[in-house]
């Protein structure tokens, strides 16, 4: 647990970077500090490992005032990742990663062995161990930065805009990797970013800063999107937060329709009845293995002989699917909006059809999720 007790950082000349900040960062979770440039988020982060020292107030790490530990000692117990990687250009990848173990006096062979383990953990090829940082891509360098920060297995990991210097595709991958690593390692992560999407994606908790060193709101991403504390936070979160919030509700909650999912060998007459019974104007035709093949329009079915089978009918493409067990209501909504039929196909992990959405079914699921979230928020 990291605790800020009315911490203020005032620079000579009177600029207040952080203003009487109270903040509690629970163990094993990811806390994201987000806000515009100059809001004090980076100063806040750097005060945790004493790269910047507070002017007033106390910072406690597991109940102990950080000013009571020697700075170098404190820092070896706190991992640190920065934007421009800060890798040592004159050290090989393995020696970069082994930095803190070596500082702690590990024998070189053991430190390097540890470095190899970490390369594996962050998804770096072992063949890179003897290379120098300039020989790696930006994304790979950032992985080395993360591995180096984790080398001594510190309980706390500070990340200062770690992904902002890489291109959007690599950034997305690195964010996913961080989420995967964090699920495995459960470090106390404090991550600074100016990118609210990143904050919402990787944070268990997000602290939104006002422009001048005060915190506007600390909440889970889902609560933040659902109930911004004021106009500032709402503006900062940006457009379509209602839809983005759906990313936090699993698609499992959807009541998918199965009455109009029919195998290709079903007679057309039977399919017509099924569609009418369900009140739908499309049926989803599947293979014998329940893999989706396409949509058959009710109008088309009515123009045909009832003894034909669905496999003989021309089909509209089934479009984007979503995985029921892993995706969110946002993905289900997106697939539905993109579908020409206004219906989307939910599949299992093997791609077999589970059922189909409709706007009605989505509306019911969203409403149920909102009610559950509200009662949870009230209970907390």
């Amino acid at each position: 647990m990291i605790t800020f007790e009315s911490v203020t950082k005032r620079y000579p000349g009177g600029t207040v970077a952080v203003d009487a900040l109270d903040l509690q960062i629970p163990d094993g979770r990811t806390m994201v500090l987000v806000g515009p440039s100059g809001c004090g988020k980076t100063t806040t982060l750097r005060m945790i490992n004493r790269l910047i020292e507070p002017s007033e107030g106390r910072i406690l790490l597991d109940g102990q005032d950080i000013m009571q530990t020697r700075a170098a000692q404190l820092r070896r117990g706190i991992g640190y990742v920065i934007q421009q990687t800060g890798l040592f250009p004159h050290r090989t990848i393995e020696d970069n990663i082994a930095t803190v173990p070596l500082l702690n006096g590990w024998p070189k062979a053991r430190a390097r062995e540890r470095a190899r383990e970490l390369m594996d953990l962050v998804g770096l090829d072992a063949g890179m161990a003897r290379r120098y940082p300039y020989q790696l891509s930006g994304g790979q360098q950032q992985r080395v930065g993360v591995a180096r920060a984790l080398a001594a297995d510190p309980p706390v990991l500070l990340m200062d805009e770690p992904f902002s210097a890489v291109d959007p595709i690599v950034r997305g991958t690195l964010q996913d990797e961080l989420i995967r690593l964090q699920a495995e390692l459960r470090k106390t992560v404090v991550l600074v970013t100016h990118d609210v999407e990143e904050a919402i994606k990787v944070g268990d908790q997000v602290a939104v800063f006002y422009p001048h060193g005060k915190v506007a709101q600390i909440d889970t991403p889902e609560q933040l999107l659902g109930a911004p504390a004021d106009d500032y936070v709402e503006n900062f979160l940006g457009f379509d937060r209602g839809i983005r919030r759906l990313a936090f509700f699993p698609a499992v909650g959807l009541d998918l329709g199965t009455g109009t999912v029919l195998a290709a060998d079903t007679p057309v007459g039977q399919a017509r009845q099924a569609a009418k019974r369900a009140g739908e104007s499309w049926v989803l035709v599947t293979s014998a293995e329940r893999l989706p093949r396409g949509w058959a329009a009710l109008a088309e079915l009515e123009s045909r002989d009832g003894h034909e089978v669905l496999g003989q009918v021309p089909l509209a493409p089934y479009g984007h699917t979503f995985r029921v067990s892993q995706d969110s209501l946002r993905a289900a909504l997106d697939a539905t909006v993109l579908s020409r039929t206004g219906l989307a196909v939910g599949v299992d992990d093997e791609g077999r059809v589970v059922g189909v959405t409709s706007y009605e079914r989505l509306r019911a699921a969203i409403q149920a999720a909102e009610e559950a979230a509200d009662s949870e928020g009230a209970g907390a």
Binding site: N49, L51, A71, A72, Q73, L74, R75, R76, I78, Y80, I82, Q83, Q84, T85, G86, L87, F88, P89, H90, R91, T99, V100, L103, Y132, Y134, Q135, R148, L158
Partner: protein, 230 residues
């Protein structure tokens, strides 16, 4: 050629003296320049006065120094070594400072955040990264020192400079050319040794010097700010 062969003993004697008189000041220079340079980067206010001082060293005519020093150190090697050391300092200190300042800020910050103490940071991170610039300064200081030693002959201690003065006095050009060629060879050899040293101590720079797809080395003589300083 036959003159040189006939006097090989004398040539060798003065060659060794020349090397000794030229390299000792560079050695003293680097021993002093590194801590002073570290101090100038660490305590920024010390840099302007020290920069001014190095400029004075650079501008001081060796001749004037000889005549001042001769009252204290007499006709000893020190009378030559001291002025040349000051000259080396005028080249080396600015290069050490430039070299240390060329260390990227994120690297320095990362070192702090990893828990390096400040002395350890200097030794294990900053000085190794400053090496290309420091060695560039060493090359200038060494080559200059090798060429400047000859001036010492004016007080009778000048290494191969002996032959330059002797050759002029006896109006015997062979002697002059031989000494000149030897001085040039010394300078080139010393420079080559330093280039090899740089490659050896900065293996991480190897790939950067080679252009993609070619084996041609691009000569980089970075950060030789001695001229600017003077």
């Amino acid at each position: 050629m036959s003159w040189a062969w006939g006097n090989r003993g004398l040539l060798a004697h003065y060659l060794v003296q020349h090397l000794y008189l030229a390299l000792t000041p560079v050695l003293f220079g680097i021993i002093v320049a590194v801590p002073v340079g570290v101090m100038c980067v660490r305590y920024r206010w010390t840099w302007p006065p020290i920069l001014s001082l190095t400029s004075i060293f650079y501008a001081l005519p060796s001749l004037a120094l000889f005549s001042v020093l001769i009252d204290y150190t007499g006709l000893t090697d020190w009378t030559v070594i001291i002025p040349l050391t000051l000259f080396s300092l005028s080249v080396l200190i600015p290069n050490v400072v430039d070299g240390l300042r060329s260390v990227p800020a994120p690297v320095r910050q990362a070192a702090d955040a990893m828990g390096f103490g400040s002395l350890r940071r200097v030794i294990q991170v900053e000085l190794p990264l400053a090496m290309p610039v420091i060695i560039a300064g060493l090359r200038v200081a060494t080559v200059s020192s090798i060429s400047l030693v000859s001036v010492g002959q004016l007080i009778g201690i000048g290494g191969l400079g002996y032959f330059l003065v002797d050759g002029v006095q006896r109006d015997f050009p062979t002697e002059i050319y031989t000494a000149l060629i030897l001085i040039l060879i010394l300078a080139l050899l010393a420079d080559t040794v330093l280039v090899l040293l740089r490659r050896w101590v900065t293996p991480w720079e190897a790939g950067r010097r080679v252009r993609p797809g070619s084996r041609i080395l691009t000569a980089t003589w970075r950060g030789t700010s001695a001229g600017d300083a003077a």
